[in-house]
């Protein structure tokens, strides 16, 4: 699956046809497989009906895959060139929803464009990866040792994370920080600096807890996570019901459309955040492990592309995007299994909803572009190197 054609060191113009052939069709297949599991689950969530979720999700997916392929064909250097501009745009939109966001359900996180609900925090995940990749592409290994060199990328990561946290969207904020941190690490930032950052992070978390940065319901979620049984009817209900549904699934599951807990509404948000629970209730441990393996393969695919990429930008971008995917599915599954607090992160490609799917498919598009253009040499400013 990961077999790649050796291209040699020489730069040469590739035609569109060649590019199409070089696309990672196996990755497309893998993505489609995971998305199909999602379709089946949305069908089940609606008690065996294509409406209201499955059909809409399929349309979105078809659209998303088309967009993904388009993105895959665009030259990697364009992404590098427009990385900061894209970041700036995402940041402006984030600020915009922050001021607009007082209306709505206490957490208005999107801009309605009519045909799609644009969620700037999701855009920011991609924008952050792109801009960090671009930043680290232009920084020498030696230079990374100097603290002031790390100040701009730190701001790149922390500023949007802070804004998103304020929205409030704890899950996405944490994701931004983790993905950013992973990219810092991959870029070669020294170990001890991470130790310092983590220490500072703990102190920061302490102050965040005692300020109004965290909403009461977020604090409650963390508390409930620590002791879910304390509040069976209230905040702990979600975790307990999710564990009951999962556990009662057993090794082989209750069978497609047979998940009692999900279908009798004991399981909250079964079509979105808790769709993994429903899947594991119906398909059991076997299904759960298969799905986790499929996700792991997708992540691994990204890592392999990163390793095969010649340019530092391509490596960083592919790795960042694959790490983003990992963070996504890990936070979601760990939360429904009761390993981490419920933070409201959907399961990419499977949960109902357009934004997460768009982000993830766009990410795959970019990864594929990095693969197609893996031998492209990129200068410091994004121009082709001779």
């Amino acid at each position: 699956m990961f077999a790649m054609t050796p291209m040699g060191n020489k730069q040469k113009k590739v035609t569109l046809g060649e590019k199409l052939l070089q696309l990672n069709w196996s990755l497309v297949l893998l993505v489609t497989a995971v998305a199909s599991i999602g379709f089946a689950m949305l069908y089940s969530a609606a008690h065996g009906s294509a409406d209201p979720w499955m059909a809409a999700q399929m349309k979105r997916f078809a659209l998303g895959v088309a967009g993904m392929l388009v993105l895959a064909l665009i030259d990697l250097r364009y992404y590098m060139r427009f990385a900061y501009a894209f970041y700036a745009m995402a940041f402006v939109l984030l600020v915009y929803v922050e001021f607009l966001g007082e209306i709505g359900m206490g957490a208005q996180r999107w801009i309605n464009l009519g045909f799609i609900q644009l969620q700037p925090s999701e855009m920011m995940k991609v924008a952050l990866v792109l801009s960090l990749a671009r930043y680290f592409h232009g920084v020498d290994w030696e230079a990374i040792g100097k603290p002031w060199v790390l100040i701009p990328p730190t701001l790149l990561a922390v500023a949007p994370a802070g804004l998103v946290m304020k929205q409030p969207d704890l899950g996405t904020a944490v994701t931004l920080m983790i993905v950013g941190g992973a990219m810092f690490f991959a870029a070669g930032v020294r170990w001890w600096k991470f130790a310092v950052i983590i220490a500072l992070g703990l102190v920061g978390a302490y102050f965040a807890w005692n300020s109004d940065l965290l909403h009461d319901y977020q604090k409650a979620r963390i508390w409930t996570f620590l002791d879910p049984e304390s509040d069976v009817r209230g905040a702990g209900y979600h975790i307990i019901q999710s564990k009951i549904a999962l556990g009662s699934g057993g090794v082989w599951g209750k069978g497609f459309l047979q998940g009692t807990q999900s279908h009798l509404d004991f399981l909250p948000e079964r079509q979105t955040d808790f769709i993994f629970t429903m899947f594991a209730e119906e398909w059991g441990l076997v299904g759960g492990i298969v799905l986790l393996t499929l996700y792991s393969m997708l992540v691994l695919y990204g890592v392999v592309i990163a390793l095969r990429c010649r340019s530092q930008f391509g490596k960083m971008m592919a790795f960042g995007l694959s790490f983003n995917l990992f963070t996504y599915f890990f936070i979601n599954t760990a939360m429904v299994m009761g390993l981490i607090p419920v933070v409201g992160v959907p399961l990419p490609l499977i949960s109902y909803g357009g934004t997460a799917m768009m982000t993830v498919l766009a990410g795959f598009g970019l990864m594929m572009s990095a693969y197609v253009h893996r031998d492209t040499k990129i200068g410091r400013t994004g121009r082709e190197e001779n």
Binding site: W141, G188, A245, L264, G284, V299
Partner: protein, 639 residues
């Protein structure tokens, strides 16, 4: 350039190493996820499976229908009646006010009922049915049914309510049913009691045979969703309906007796089969309407029933003790014979009896002259009994009284029985801490003083005289109906055993002594000079033998006796004498015993005897042996 290249290679090497480290971290995190999944779905799976079932499976109890209570001929005394009620499911209507308003135009709703509905609607989830109006009559029900399309959310539901067709006529016998109190629920393991609205027997036969009448609960497993809405029924086990209880009551006679005494302010009467102890009628007045207890009695109603001077809630035949007066002379006569006093023993009655410094009066001022034992009963001569009581002593009299079932509960299958009081020397020391005075023996000899007996005990005493000394036990249980196989079976006794009844034990008295009592009682009603001759039954073959009793509840002072004893009519009700009469019939082949007690009713022969006469006539007219020759094996000879 070379430096650049060197650096690029360096950078790539570091990236690869770091990427591998992070990849390893990711792999281990995925491993953690899988391990967690394994833990939840394999190791803890059983626990969560149970929790999942608890989540979704609700066990519902299906109440069985309560057994009927029937009279001896199968006439229902307590039945179940369909109760149609209108219920409202809030989520099925858009406008609650509108729906309720439309409903109220068909079936009037009081402000209170309306508020109750609104309150219930607020307390419950939108899909929970709320009762709007209970007990719809046929017309209202069809009105509502017809207009259901315009009444979204309203529907008609049927369940059962307990219904007593004879209402107050049988209220004391049957008792009533009521929802169980919390302590009753805690004390009874039967899950049925936990059902809201489930009613248990509260008094009378409903209470004695509650467990058998109740039946056993059915079960239905219902799958519900997270908010409790029913999705489907998983399984259903039907319960067993309660056993039908066939009683010994003859409802025709019961009706007659209850109506016959209804004119009295406070009166009670029992009719018993002297061979089996079966109660044919048991009347107590005033009575009450058991339906008010079913509906949930209001505080005012309860207070007025409770504070009523004539105590309508009390079954006086078993719960009230009265001084038996002259009816007790039966016991005194038996005690005298047992002590060896000859029936020919004669006493001269000058109208009073001198005992030391005391002068005790006979009810007949001018005296009876010379009286023998049988004549003493006939005339009810007090002086004769003062004399023989003094000779026999209180302990012998008390012992004889107990043989006839006085001073102890008779064991009838009704709750709330009073044991009455039969005093003797030990009793007085034990209860009052005083020694017994010989004068008290004389008073006891004519059934006054400390002696207290219930009307049922007097009837039982008479029955034991009439049946030749068999210690029968009064009862209202006859058998269970078809549904009641395997119910708890009470022990039945009868003079003629068989048909599930054991032999009743013989009392330790001489048959000829009883025969003398019967002769005396015959004279009371059928001899011209008997105290109740004017109240006799003169229908051939139905004649009764009886004994009058008038028991004093106040002390007559010397001065009053000198100026003339005040007439009962001139006294306030609580100071008037009790009027008593006991009898059996037919006189030559006894079958039925009766007692009548009119509380503060005046003279026994004048007021109580006519009631006994009328009830006995009706009883013999309705004789089940005549209506159904196979039922009781025909008339029996005297043993």
């Amino acid at each position: 350039m070379a430096g650049n290249k060197q650096q690029a290679q360096n950078q790539a090497k570091i990236f690869s190493r770091r990427a591998m480290i992070l990849g390893g971290l990711q792999a281990s995190l995925v491993g953690t996820l899988m391990a967690r999944l394994y833990y939840l779905q394999v190791i803890e799976s059983e626990k969560y499976r149970l929790l999942a079932d608890e989540n979704r499976i609700n066990l519902r109890l299906l109440p069985p229908s309560r057994g009927l209570i029937l009279d001896r001929f199968g006439v229902p005394l307590a039945a179940n009646f369909p109760n149609y009620r209108a219920i409202l499911v809030a989520e099925q209507t858009k406008d609650l006010e509108q729906t309720l308003g439309d409903f109220a135009r068909l079936v009037p709703l009081s402000e209170r009922e309306r508020n109750k509905v609104m309150r219930e609607l607020k307390r419950n989830r939108a899909f929970t049915p709320i009762p709007v109006k209970e007990d719809l009559n046929w017309e209202q029900m069809s009105q509502v049914e017809l207009n259901l399309p315009e009444l979204p959310g309203i529907s008609i539901e049927e369940d059962q309510k307990r219904y007593y067709p004879f209402a107050g006529l049988t209220a004391h016998l049957l008792g009533y049913v009521q929802t169980a109190s919390e302590s009753e629920v805690a004390a009874d393991a039967d899950p049925l009691l936990t059902l809201p609205g489930f009613r248990i027997g509260r008094n009378g036969l409903e209470r004695t045979y509650d467990k058998s009448l109740r039946g056993s609960a059915g079960k239905s497993e219902i799958e519900v969703n997270s908010v409790g809405r029913i999705i489907r029924q998983l399984s259903r086990v039907e319960g067993k309906p309660g056993a039908d209880l066939v009683t010994t009551i003859d409802i025709g006679l019961q009706e007659f007796a209850q109506q016959r005494i209804a004119a009295e302010q406070s009166c009670s009467s029992v009719v018993m089969d002297i061979f089996t102890g079966e109660i044919l009628a048991m009347a107590s007045t005033p009575s009450f309407d058991p339906a008010s207890f079913y509906r949930g009695i209001s505080g005012d109603e309860w207070r007025s029933l409770n504070s009523d001077m004539f105590r309508p809630l009390t079954n006086k035949t078993i719960s009230d003790g009265y001084a038996p007066g002259s009816t007790f002379k039966i016991v005194t006569t038996m005690a005298a014979q047992a002590a060896g006093i000859s029936p020919n023993f004669s006493v001269f009655c000058p109208g009073f009896y001198t005992f030391g410094p005391m002068r005790l009066h006979c009810w007949k001022k001018e005296g009876h002259g010379h009286v023998s034992m049988a004549d003493a009963l006939k005339h009810s001569c007090d002086v004769y009994y003062y004399d023989i009581a003094k000779r026999v002593g209180i302990d012998a009299i008390a012992e004889m009284a107990r043989k006839f079932g006085l001073g102890t509960v008779t064991g009838i299958d009704l709750p709330g029985e009073n044991s009455g009081t039969i005093p003797d020397q030990a009793w007085k020391i034990g209860t009052l801490g005083e020694k017994w005075y010989p004068g008290e023996t004389l008073v006891a000899g004519i059934g006054q003083g400390f002696i207290q007996t219930t009307p049922l005990q007097l009837c039982l005493m008479t029955a034991r005289v009439a049946n030749g000394g068999y210690a029968i036990t009064p009862r209202m249980f006859k058998r269970y109906g078809a549904a009641g196989a395997g119910q708890e079976q009470p022990v039945l006794t009868s003079v003629n055993p068989g048909q599930g009844a054991d032999a009743a034990p013989l009392m330790d008295v001489k048959p000829e002594h009883l025969a003398l009592i019967r002769r005396g009682m015959d004279l009371v009603t059928n001899d011209q000079r008997g105290t109740a001759y004017r109240r006799r039954i003169d229908i051939p073959g139905m004649e009764m033998a009886g004994k009058t009793g008038t028991s004093q509840v106040r002390r007559i002072t010397m001065s009053e006796r000198a100026t003339g004893v005040r007439k009962n009519e001139d006294l306030p009700w609580p100071q008037r004498d009790h009027a008593l009469f006991v009898a059996y019939a037919p006189v030559h082949q006894p079958r039925y015993a009766i007692s009548v007690v009119i509380e503060h009713g005046g003279g026994g022969s004048t007021f109580a005897a006519p009631i006994a006469r009328d009830i006995l006539i009706e009883c013999q007219r309705r004789d089940p042996a005549r209506r159904n020759p196979n039922d009781e094996g025909g008339r029996r000879e005297m043993p």
